[in-house]
Structures are given as structure tokens and as C-alpha cells.
Symmetry: C2
Subunit: 573 residues, 2 copies
Amino acid sequence: MGKWDVLAVVFLAMMVMLIAEAAVVKYDWTVDYITASPDCVEKLVLSVNNQFPSPTIHAMEGDTLVVRVTNAIPTEGVVFHWHGIHQTTTPFFDGAAYVSQCPINPGETFTYRFTVERAGTYFYHGHFGMQRAGGLFGSLIVSISLHKEPFAYDGEHSIILTDWWHKSIYEQQLGLTSIPFRFVGEPQSLLIQGRGSYNCTGLAGVAPGSLNCIVCNSTNPLCAPHVLPVMPGKTYRLRIASVASLSSLNFILEGHTLTVVQADGRYVKPFQVDNLNVYSGQSYDVLFTTNKEPSRNFWAAVNVRGRKMSTPTGLAILQYLPNPATLVPLTPTPVSPAWNDTAASVAQAKMILAKFGYEQAPPLKPDRTVTILGTQNMVDGHIKWALNNISHVARPTPVLAALKYNIRGAFDSEPPPDFPIKDYDVFAPPPTNYRNATSGSPVYVFTKDSVVDIIVQNANTLTPNNSEIHPWHLHGHDFWILGYGEGQFDPEKDPAFFNLVDPPVRNTVAVFPYGWVVIRFIANNPGAWPFHCHIEPHFHMGMGTVFAEGIEHIPELPTQTLGCGLTKRLMRL
Amino acid sequence: MGKWDVLAVVFLAMMVMLIAEAAVVKYDWTVDYITASPDCVEKLVLSVNNQFPSPTIHAMEGDTLVVRVTNAIPTEGVVFHWHGIHQTTTPFFDGAAYVSQCPINPGETFTYRFTVERAGTYFYHGHFGMQRAGGLFGSLIVSISLHKEPFAYDGEHSIILTDWWHKSIYEQQLGLTSIPFRFVGEPQSLLIQGRGSYNCTGLAGVAPGSLNCIVCNSTNPLCAPHVLPVMPGKTYRLRIASVASLSSLNFILEGHTLTVVQADGRYVKPFQVDNLNVYSGQSYDVLFTTNKEPSRNFWAAVNVRGRKMSTPTGLAILQYLPNPATLVPLTPTPVSPAWNDTAASVAQAKMILAKFGYEQAPPLKPDRTVTILGTQNMVDGHIKWALNNISHVARPTPVLAALKYNIRGAFDSEPPPDFPIKDYDVFAPPPTNYRNATSGSPVYVFTKDSVVDIIVQNANTLTPNNSEIHPWHLHGHDFWILGYGEGQFDPEKDPAFFNLVDPPVRNTVAVFPYGWVVIRFIANNPGAWPFHCHIEPHFHMGMGTVFAEGIEHIPELPTQTLGCGLTKRLMRL
């Protein structure tokens, strides 16, 4: 039996699995550091069961996932956030440290148990400090029977993308909160499914990440590029997710057109691209057909956009069977659109529309509208990111527990301020009266089942003529993206252009430089849900907040989620 | 006013302080990483209030110390152990993670409050994972009025010694628990009061740690050697403590005889040495007279003994005022006795006797005798250290809480095994039937006020012809050292030679290669007290256990010490 026959059998077996009934799917995990060389440079990497990336979870729509996590790190806590899973009725298993639960202490075992309600391409990752950037992430694939999908394919692959640093996350974190500020800098490499190529072992004079470097490393068992084996003349589904710490990524499958069919696990009106922007926190499902020259392999490539690229292209191998995986393409590595071609980025974002008949249209009006201005500011001499001039700091009591058990002092009881956005020049660095922000941890409280609009307004950073991309992610929800715009949002004129017919439904939306986005969601999931920029350094520097809703409907919390901060007050000795 | 006048005024002021009443002494600490260059090589270092070493605590005998600790590390827990302080009635403030308390989570504030009952030279340090080796330590000086001391002096200094690695403790910890085992290796440098000299900034061809390297670095504000200013013709008290991670240290004050007057804060019969062995976890108070050539300065030096020295001498400057501190001695760096001259080490240890009239003699008989054989073993393919073939693993529930609130499953309820030591050949690697140990967390329970003897028996490691020094430290107690011996302890013959008249009283005792030591203590301090080898890698590899006593007298525990592991069961929602 040849390799491709094996592959066919595996795929058939997967389809058989998919026909089975909703099940309880169990995983038993141990988290610890390992020594790994994702890009041929050895460093300490956070791992699950000694694997990097952490193991891919496979489940079917409606299954219950039971993940038993034992923390074997000597002194660090951990949590796992199941990115894109709504945790309906189980908000305490959302895995956001100090929002939904206490960190899992070293030596402790914690069991997540939740339903995966909707098929799609998801992922999970550490959500404490910058542990995601430390390597704590993996894919979470929720399937349904193929015949229920509105498209057909012969096989599938899944890849998770990230950017990668050689400095430890401890050093990165410290630099971000130090005076003077020490930025993490551009990543050393880009990883596709945990593999990149920085160090060219055994070859002198070969540039890190260059084609020759990849060729050189292609047989190195520690860091050979990831391989996507395909049979010629077939259609494949490729599941792509980005857990990048900093970078906006652009994915290219050399010579192959990508038909985008899902975004963040939600159906979109299919559209074709040659290159795909994937912002951190987003996933895409694309179809491609293996109709190219079958005697060679092709590049799967990822480049940085949105920041001036100094990191070599991340590369994997699209292997046309029966070519060997080590048959490295001799073609140049794919080139993405110019890093600062924001118009191209916006245009692609606007191509994403909900698939008719598969997604509901949003309610026509919000019950409440919140404006969030995200700016770079100073707090006590530190560079921070702030929302309406409040830079978020996590306090050591889970917000969910504080709400449920009415524990005072766990977060700032003052509601977040409404920002006089009309006075604010988004094209200039913060003026004197807005330059200094304060630290805080206010929580937005929404009435259950109310329709909420969030206007996220981007602006200039502290540096003149500079504005950054921020991929905003909401826990516990998908939201409709009603509109994108440039400059300052105009509440009088802009709503007239909102898409209320087929806006895309997602959990993460990129807010472009100097731009705004308006999202709408229904506050129908009792719990406390972080809303934050998915860029690790930005969130670590305060770019986030918490949305709470249906407080009176929050279920009793499992004691395993408690024990830290002011929840110690719940002890009865 | 000259420098020496300032010094005299400071010393007078200190004496005035010492005459004051017992007081409440408050400290407000924030723990976080800093970037520091203790030996001129930059790395992340654990710090209190951005200081390394952490601040020196000054208090008077009988004072109450209140130390409010805020953990600002993003993802790591911390605790502080007050080494040598007995914590009578406050066993929950002993600061041993998972024995006396839960780790202080990131963002939490924890307040230690305890009495320092006895004057002496103590210290404090992190007691979670290998955070002490990561730099989390400082001095704790408890004074009494000078006229109450049985010796006189004109001024005093305090230094804390350690060995230093450039690898992070994360990497060190991972290597120690990996297959294959990766040892931490010999330290890169030795630090006196947080200063060493590895990197010779600006001088080509100068060996790390060499005399020229020190000269070169002597004006570098980041890593200039520590300076001990003295006036000629005076007598000084020097407080010396070692928090070394691995190394047995030997201290020399060039050209000056040291008169040892205290060990671990307890009075000893004064004796004179030219060099002083200080094992990790021990402190000594020595007197010296500044009667040497006053036109020059002298070396304060520390060398490794007990392991073949590959680390350069650690150096500080004994500054004879008014010479400038930068007047580096041109004399060779002091040389310590041969690293493997165990006889010299034992002989010096045997010079230490309690000062007549200042320490009580021990009870003549024990109520219970426990034999502990410390060996190097294999557990599931990992190299470990074990006590009676059980390698200690910390479980995530504080033993003290489990005992107080009768929480089952927190530790192994089976008592530790009595080991058939008569059958064991301490001069050979573990035989087949003892080579493999098991992991566990048994607790020794002693009857309140009973007299306990512990026979600590050393043996050959897994490597033929190799046995190591282990400094054993007991929390919550000082103990009498009744005797040292070589080879296998003979319960029939050896007790006849016990010193029951003036044995030294200490909290840490070195057990020499292939040797044994017998200690006696009274189990009169209700609580749970770690008894462990003070070498960080050894303890991390399982060389420790817990002694519990007077369980029924353990006071109610502050809720701030709880919340982790099975103490979550104490939640009443």
C-alpha cells in the first residue's frame, strides 16, 4: 500500500468517525517545558505531552470535550483558552486567567469539560502572561459529516501559523513593562505547524530563512519543514489559523488559487484569492485543487504584512505525491503584497461576506452602543495601550467569580468612561491631555439578550505618522462585522453604510491603521468575556477589557476554578 | 566629615536603634524580574523592589516583622522562606510552597507576620522550584544590644554568598528532570553580596574571574566588586551566609584570622580559622581585627570546595579606610584547601561547639529515632535523589492545611519506610534492588514535645567512587548535632561517642561524603516542617521530606495561605 493509499484510508476512517453520534472526547494532558528547535535554534518551549505545537484536538459538532490538564511546570500557572468556542452554560471553562478562572497552579490537575457546538476550524492556547508566544497552542478541529458541508473535497489538512522569537517570553514580557521600554522586536522566524528555518545547520554563508537554508534543513528531523501531502487532481480543504504573537500574516500556496469557504468557523460566500491575510486570532478554511505540474512540490508560504518585513518567509512543503517530501521546490519563495498596502488588506477584508442561507442577518438596531478608542499612551512613564484612556491590568480575582459571588474590590466598579471621540484627532499622536492614561480593570456590563454595538476606533500611536493593525477578539461570542472605515467614525453618517444583509460573522476582526470597525453581538451568553487585541505584546501592555452579561444567570462555579485572589474569602474554615 | 566618620555615626545610630523597644518592622515588597549583571553578564534575575540581592532586613530580637509581598511576575508564583526563623505559633508563615502555604499567585498580595525570637544572622529566600538560584534571596539580621553580646566589636558588615549560572533556572530545572539528564554544571561565577566577575568588559585576553578581570570591572557600576569598608585598628563582626545553589563554599579574608562566634545564629565556643567552610543554608558570625598594613586593601574571597573547582574565585574588597575602594589588591587571590580534603572539612566542622552557658545541653535520650538514608536513584528512567528509596515530590496542597483540616489525599498517608540500613553498602552505588526508587510525599509525624533523633546516612551516588556533600536543613527548629562519622552508622557503638555536653545547635548540618550525622531536636513547634538537602538541584530532584508535629495544636490558618490543590474543597459557595 503506497503512501497515498494510506492517506486515502485515513481520510475514509475520518469520514466514518464523522458519522458517529455525539460523543465525549477525552484528552489527558501534561504541560511542561521541553527543549525544542522549531526553527533549528534550540530554546525552551511550552508543550503539551512533550509536543510542539500542542496536540491537535479532533471532535465532531456536538461532542463534549473533556481535557484533563496537569501542570508540570515548576513555578508557573497555566490556563487554556478554547478560541472560538462559546462556552454556553460553561463560562468558567473559557480559560482566560483571572477572568474565567484562577491559573492552574504547578502540580494541580484541572479538568475542562465543554461542548463544541459548531463545526469549524478553531484552536486553543495559553491565556496567561504571554504563554501563547512561549509555544502553548494547538489546533481544535470540529467536524461534521461531509455531506452536510456546502462544498465538497477529497481530503483535508490543518496548519497553525505563528511568529517566533529566540528570546524567552520572560525577557519579552519584562522588556515590554520596563523603563526604558524594550520592544520584542521583529520575530526571528515564522512557523507553519511549528516548523521554520532560521539556523542553516551545516551550510556556511547561507542566510537564515533563505531557500538554501530550507533546503539545508529539509532532512533535519528537529526542524525539517512541515509537509502537506496531496494527491494530484484532487480538491483539498486546508484549515489555516494564526496564533501569531505580533505579526499580521499572509499565506500563499504557490501557484494555487485559494477558495475561502469559512472564516473563524463560520460560512462565508466563497471567494478566490492568491494570497490570504490571516490576522492573529483568526482562522480560514480554504479549498484548493491540485491541478499543477505533478512532478514537483510547491511552497506553502507565510510572510509578514502590516509591519515592514525583516523576518524571512516561513515555508512548508506542498507535496504532490508520489514525489518525496524532501523534493524541495527550486522556485523562489512566494512574495506577498507590500507590507504597507493597507488598501489591499481592507479590500480583502471586505470580500468576506456571510454565506446566504447559512448565517442569520443581525438585528437591525442595537440596544446599546459602546465606543472604544484604542490608543498608545504613557502610564507612570511606561508605554501602554489603553481603551478610552484606561490601560487594562489583570487583577488576581477571576471577574466571573467576583460577579457570581458578589466579591467587592476584585475589579474597578466604576464603569468604563465614555470617550469624547469627537474631540480626538485619530491622525495625530495623543495630545497632551490624552497622552497619560491610567491603569484599571473596569468591566462593561450588558443586559442579557441586549443587542450591543461596539465601535472600535483606531488612532495614531505615540509615534507621529504611525498607526498599527489590531485584531480584536471577543470571547464567548461571534459578532457581525457591520462595517469598516477610515479615519474617525461618524455616528451620524457611517451607520447608513452598515451591512445588515450579509455581514460576516466572526470572533476576531482586524482594525486597520487609522480605521474603525463596528461589530454587533447579542449579549445572550451569561458570563464574563475578554475583548482584547490578540497581539500578545499589545494585550500585555493593557489593550483589552472584559464584557459581562446575564450576571444573574451565571451558573455555580466549579471550585477548581477558584482559590486565587479574593475568592479565598469563600473559604469557610 | 570623612567617610569613616560617617561610618562611625551610622554604627552609633544602629546602636541607638538596638536600645529601643521591640517593635513592628514593616516592609512592602514587590517581586519581579529585573535585568541585572551580577558578574558583568546580563540576565534576568528575580528581585525584590528591583534590588539584587533582595533588601537586607534589619530587626531587633523580639520584633514583629510584617512583610507585605506583591507578586508582579506575570505567570509565576512565589513564596518567601525565613531561613532560621522558627515561626513559633505561625507555622503558616514559614514560606515553603506546598508545605506551609500555597504559592502567592501573580498579582496577589500576601502578608507575612511573625516574630524574630532570637538575635542572629539569618536570611530569606524563595522556596518554590529553584527560585533561590534565580536570585530571590536576601539577608535577615536580627540584633540585640551590643552589651548583651558575649563579645565586643566596633562595627559590622553582612555578606551573603552564592554561586551563579548564566542559564535560566527554567533551563536548569528542565535539564534536571529530563531524560537524558542534563546537569546544571559548575557555576560560571561566585557572588559576594550579589557581585562577581565573569565577563571582563573592555579587556581582551583577560580570563573570566581573574585578578585582571576584577581590576577591569572594579569601576563598572553594574558589577564592581562588593566593598567592605573598615577603619584600621578596629574589630569587626562579619555576618556571612550562603544561599549557594550547588557549591560548598570556603571563605577567606586575606591575611586576617577569623574568630568564629556564632553559627546559624547560635553562640559557639570561639575558635579561630584562616578559612571558613560555609555550606548552603548556613551562616557564621566571625570577628576580625584590622591590624594589617593599612596602606592597602585586601581580598575577601570565596572558593568552591567539595567539587573539583572550575569556577573562578569570587572576590570582594576589604577596604582599609581611607584608601579608595577602587584600590584593588595586587596580591594573588586567596587559595582554599584542596577541594577533596574531606578530612580538613570534617575537622573544621568538629571545631564547632556550643558556647558554655549560652546554649542548653540536649536531652540525654531520644523518644524516637529515625534513620534516613539519602541516595541517588533512578525513578522511571530519571535520575533522582531519594530518602529511604522515596524521592520527594511536592503535591499541590500545603501539608500544613491538609493536616489542620484533615484533607485526605494531599500527601501519602503511608508512613515513610524504615530502611534496613544494615544491609546497605554505603561505599558502593545502589545495588540492583535499591537502584530504582519510587516517587512519593510521605510525612513523618512526631508526638508533640517528643525528643527525636535523625540519623542521616550518606552513601555512594550512582557513579562508582563518588559521594557528595549534603547540607541538611530543618525548618521550624534548631537541632543539636550529636556526632559525625564516616562509613555506616553503627547504632550499637556510635551513640557512645555522641556529644551530649556541648554539641553545636544549628538549623543546617553538612553530611560529608560517605559519612553520617546524628541530630536531635524536640518536636515542640506545632506545624509541618521541611527537612531537606539545601542544594537546589538535589531538593528539586527529590532530596527532602516533611516533619509534622503537634498537629492538634496547629492554629487556624489564614485564608491567604490557602486556595491551591485540595484546599479548594474548603470553599463553601
